[in-house]
Symmetry: C2
Subunit: 686 residues, 2 copies
């Protein structure tokens, strides 16, 4: 490497490249297409561009990052970064110069183009039967004749009024009782978990209880903050998984654990810290914007609403102690890492997890700051590569309650597949990798402003029109400089491929149609890599001053992903003895944005009627929510996890051949009858 | 107060007095009869005399103690006291001069006359049925055909081999499983709590499991460290309750909570820290003295014994993680304070506790450092003033399984009484205060070397002979300077009183027989207090260079205590409709040392045949031990706590009158037929 250059890697985006030594981190971020907030224009006065320079050897990128690879601490930074954060490596990006190889983590609040996480809650039918219920009870004062203790007095009331028997009590809740009972003038509201354990006492009458369903993805984390009494979703909150800095996929994180002495602890701590931030976000949303967290001194009792007359609104006003139940789902590796369970063997054939069963863990035992007596229900796991997130999908979609054969595809950083009906369910996983989410591509990026999300290519001229996130107008109705394109996001990838294919730019083998493209201005061979590439947006339309292209290698990546997915689906259909599936459901952010026709045109999954292909959004998260609001779903979850038969595809006889074949783009119309009309005949018959 | 004098209070002994300013703390301790270890003779080189100067206002003594009331930090101290301890107020007593009022805490290791805690375990019959059992299980390796997770694999084995079903697992235990299973070559030893929850996995085959039964008294704490598999008491450990510095009795501690913002937290933290020290002591006892806690690197699996050939012995070698079960009993106030439950209402009529029921609390939730998944079984409580310690006494003595009427008296810092048989049990408490334990008397002291424990007074000459703890020879067989007397301990008090009474020195009203004692060298009036007093040991026989006396006020204190006790017993007998009791059992250290005839002579409890009066030692601790080794006793404990009828004596109609009468020393031979022959007729008829 040129000794005047240094390698800079930005996390969590994964963007990396060489930059000239001596430039500051903001300048480096621009060169590499990473947006860091810098309101003051590098005048060192706004303090918005805080980043963290990581210490350590990052095997994946083969770099040694160190705080000694950046310029010295400056006085200006003290205003924005306290001693504690300074020691953790936090710096102002506008002040700090690159002097050697570094890995820079950009905290979410410093990212200018905030992630658009499409994990909103769907309307699904849930029976109301939460694990945590609130009961109001009035009792007599103790006397010399009847000096029975507070707890027994309240239990007697709960049995008399609600038939609750043999209740136990968490010690942290019990500590609230003597004061609550007297503040409430011998009346209390009692929160009871699973009709078994008392987890909270509040003085007098309170009606509400809140909970949160959390879906921890490899890349993103979403939380549905719910009113347990009405099932209303009070707020949906989301964030990036802070473990991204240790590697983008589960295998990379398992490897990090195996190669770093305290790797597991660090990853576990990071996601817990992240969840606490997420919970803070959920809580903060319940405060009136101008009156956050201010409490009148001496104020007592349950004041859950606050009126803000100047806004004409009534806000909830909750604290962390108001979160009384949590459900959580994740893939097996994320499950193990969060719970600090050794994930090593999940990454080694035959991939046995440490545990399948669901668990009820006190949130405090994991360092999660909610009501100290709150339990977290951890959804059960199906297998090493089909985790609790897939159980969540099943809980939300309930294929086991239907006669028709449903194929449910959950495309996150890995693909998880379920196929079956009320009689039988089988599941599997396929290594799609993150290509379908736009990662690992030359200009792949997350769904953030500037990302190309829709595209059309003229079949005749091969000219490109496109649209980016953050701007409604398409390219052809805009000035070049208005587009500010930056890359291609996950939902755009499929569009790009399908358009390249149906416009004839690439052949069914995925190779560029060189004959056709000869002398086309958008088609060229990269002088460095000797790879053919096709320009989607010109440098003048971009905010990074570079042509945004799709390369032959990118296309191969996507073909590998779609090949793995298609081969997996096909083998499962065969295993179930079926000819075809009745319904295809696509979960995950990918499913929300995907164009069904284009997915079919790309051969992502076996042929199916277009109207029978459905995006079901974040079904894993919805499943967690059903388990939060209906305790019966927790029983169902354990049933699912033990009764879905897991099939290890890679050891299936025909896997390799199916996989190779599936990498081709669809062409056999007998296998894809519904393709007709989507892809033109002359293309199919190329 | 003289401006050249300062008030110094030593804890935990409670010794206090004015000393001249400018003397060092060791000198002050000698003046006040407190022994601080000073091996080097104040040469500032041994570092044994470490004490802590407490900061704050101590209402009970009305003093403001401050580190600014002692001389400045000296270089010599640095060798023995690190920065952290220095900040907590630790000082060398030989260096530090008194310059104002202070409260000094003498840590146990600095006390020269170590407490003789008589809390050894008795031989009692216990059925072997512990809550924690260990099971060994071998499982198959996972394969692609059968990739079931570790936990389910082990559960299947436990069901097959031992019929254990539906087991849950603590998250902290689960973290051990993947490694234990592989280190043990697919065999593990599983510890199961209550046939319900897995709390530990060890690789391969392990046979032992250990637990500890703890009895937390207001003044002392005792622990029985037991082998759960054989019921053997491996070790008995004890310590002072570190809360003594906040006050000697429960009311003082409740008051400390009510008058100090973080008082409850401080007291709770102190006892937890104390318990951790006690557990360390128990563990340390299992190491060979010269090889403490050394572990070979890379050593794996359960190595529980270590041979020390040079000593010809085999030692257990355990760690904190080997403590897998805990039971604990205490009076209601100690229960509340340790569990950080507001004790305020236990101190206010009608004294309702926060909870009666037993609790299973994870030791980690209280900050107790044992195996992280270990539960602590907290014995249930009978009433505000009859705590879990009394339930322990009942478990050990089982009066509910006998026909005869047993009166069980547990004299700790307060008296707890139970009376009854298999048909009915009633309980009560009486405010004996700590006088019967030797506290609050002019020369009262704990059972430590130098304490007068036996005494005889010649009825003719009124000359005194006595014996001190730590020396076998009585006074009359010793040189004066060999005695090194220092004070009177609890077991000596009753001896003193009984001898004073039966030798005619005091009358049945408790007043000195002034006529008889006129001109007797041992009898005099104190010029300061104008109180009559009687010298037991002359200054030349003492190690504190003072005459050791018993004062009229001391005698009143003991009369108050014995009056409360006797009146309580009598009212209970009446309430049960009885004429007399069949058996009197005396628990606590007092019961171990008490001379039954003298106790009867003093009228501590209603008349009973001498041979039917039994000391039952630390029955409360023994009860905790039965609950540790036999889980059925835990069920029995809850039954006891709810089926013993508590009687509040102070609201009984005749209480005041009975109490006044009972303060007299016994004289009515019709009420005490068994007194005849113990106390001479002429005395009884005075």
């Amino acid at each position: 490497m040129d000794e005047n250059m240094a390698m800079v890697i930005f996390q969590p985006s994964g963007r990396r490249g060489e930059v000239p030594k001596g430039i500051n981190i903001i300048e480096a971020s621009r060169l590499l297409g990473v947006d860091i907030e810098a309101l003051c224009g590098e005048k060192k006065v706004c303090g918005k561009c805080v980043v963290r320079v990581e210490e350590g050897h990052f095997e994946k990128y083969n770099i040694q990052s160190s705080m000694s690879h950046v310029s010295l601490w400056q006085e200006e930074e003290e205003k924005f970064i306290n001693e504690e954060r300074r020691e953790k490596g936090f710096r102002l990006a506008c002040v700090t110069e690159v002097q050697g190889d570094i890995l820079v983590f950009v905290p979410e609040e410093s990212r200018a183009g905030k992630q658009v996480v499409s994990k909103a809650a769907r309307d699904i039918y849930i029976e109301h039967n939460p694990a945590v219920n609130v009961y109001y009870v009035e009792v007599d004062k103790p006397t010399f004749e009847e000096p029975t203790g507070d707890f027994e007095r309240v239990c007697r009331g709960l049995e008399r009024e609600y038939g609750l028997k043999n209740l136990t009590v968490d010690i942290f809740a019990l500590r609230q009782l003597p004061t609550a009972l007297r503040d409430g003038k011998w009346s209390v509201t009692v929160s009871v978990w699973n009709d078994r354990e008392i987890i909270r006492f509040r003085p007098g009458k309170a009606e509400k209880a809140y909970g949160i369903a959390i879906d921890v993805g490899t890349t993103t984390v979403a939380g549905y903050f719910c009113d347990l009494t009405t099932m209303e979703v009070v707020d949906t909150v989301s964030m990036m998984n802070p473990q991204c800095k240790y590697g983008e996929d589960v295998m990379a994180r398992i490897t990090f654990h195996m190669t770093t002495p305290d790797g597991l602890q660090r990853m576990s701590d990071d996601i817990i810290e992240g969840l606490n931030d997420l919970l803070d976000k959920a809580i903060a949303g319940t405060y009136p914007p101008k009156k956050k967290k201010k409490k009148k001194k001496g104020e007592k009792g349950p004041v859950e609403y606050v009126e803000v007359p100047e806004e004409g609104k009534t806000y909830l006003r909750l604290g962390r102690e108001d979160i009384e139940d949590i459900t959580i789902g994740f893939n097996t590796a994320m499950h193990h890492i969060l719970l600090n369970l050794n994930p090593e063997f999940v990454g080694l054939a035959p991939f046995p997890p440490v545990i399948h069963h669901s668990m009820d863990i006190k949130a405090r035992d994991l360092g999660i700051n909610v009501n100290p007596s709150t339990y977290m229900f951890v959804l059960p796991i199906e297998a090493g590569f089909v985790g609790a997130d897939n159980v969540g999908v099943l809980l939300a979609e309930e294929p086991y309650k239907h006669d028709e054969n449903q194929l449910i595809i959950d495309i996150g950083t890995n693909g998880e597949l379920v196929l079956g009906n009320r009689h039988k369910l089988i599941s599997s996983s396929c290594a799609t990798g993150p290509a379908l989410e736009g990662a690992q591509l030359a200009f792949g990026m997350r769904a953030a402003p500037g990302a190309i999300e829709r595209i059309t290519i003229d079949p005749e001229t091969k000219e490109v029109d496109y649209k980016v996130i953050g701007r409604d107008a398409w390219r052809k109705f805009s000035e070049p400089k208005e587009m500010k394109a930056k890359g291609i996001c996950g939902s755009g990838i499929l569009d790009v491929l399908a358009e390249l294919y149906s416009s004839g730019v690439i052949l069914k083998s995925g190779v560029f149609n060189k004959k056709l493209l000869k002398d086309h201005p958008r088609f060229r061979k990269n002088p460095d890599t000797n790879q053919p590439e096709f320009v989607l947006a010109w440098a003048e339309e971009s905010s990074i001053d570079k042509d945004i292209m799709i390369t032959q290698k990118d296309i191969r990546q996507i073909q590998l992903a779609k090949g793995a997915l298609y081969a997996g689906c096909k083998l499962m259909v065969k295993r179930m003895g079926l000819e075809k599936v009745d319904t295809v459901k696509i979960a995950g952010a990918f499913g929300t944005h995907v164009d069904r026709e284009k997915a079919l045109a790309m051969g992502l999954f076996p042929d199916c009627e277009i109207e029978k292909i459905k995006g079901v959004g974040n079904a894993a998260g919805d499943g967690c929510r059903t388990a939060l609001l209906n305790v019966q779903k927790r029983v169902e979850a354990n049933w699912c996890s033990r009764n879905v038969e897991y099939i290890e595809l890679t050891v299936e006889e025909n896997f390799q051949q199916e996989f190779m074949e599936a990498m081709q783009l669809p062409h056999m119309t007998d296998e894809f009858p519904h393709l007709k009309g989507i892809v033109r005949d002359e293309i199919l018959n190329q």
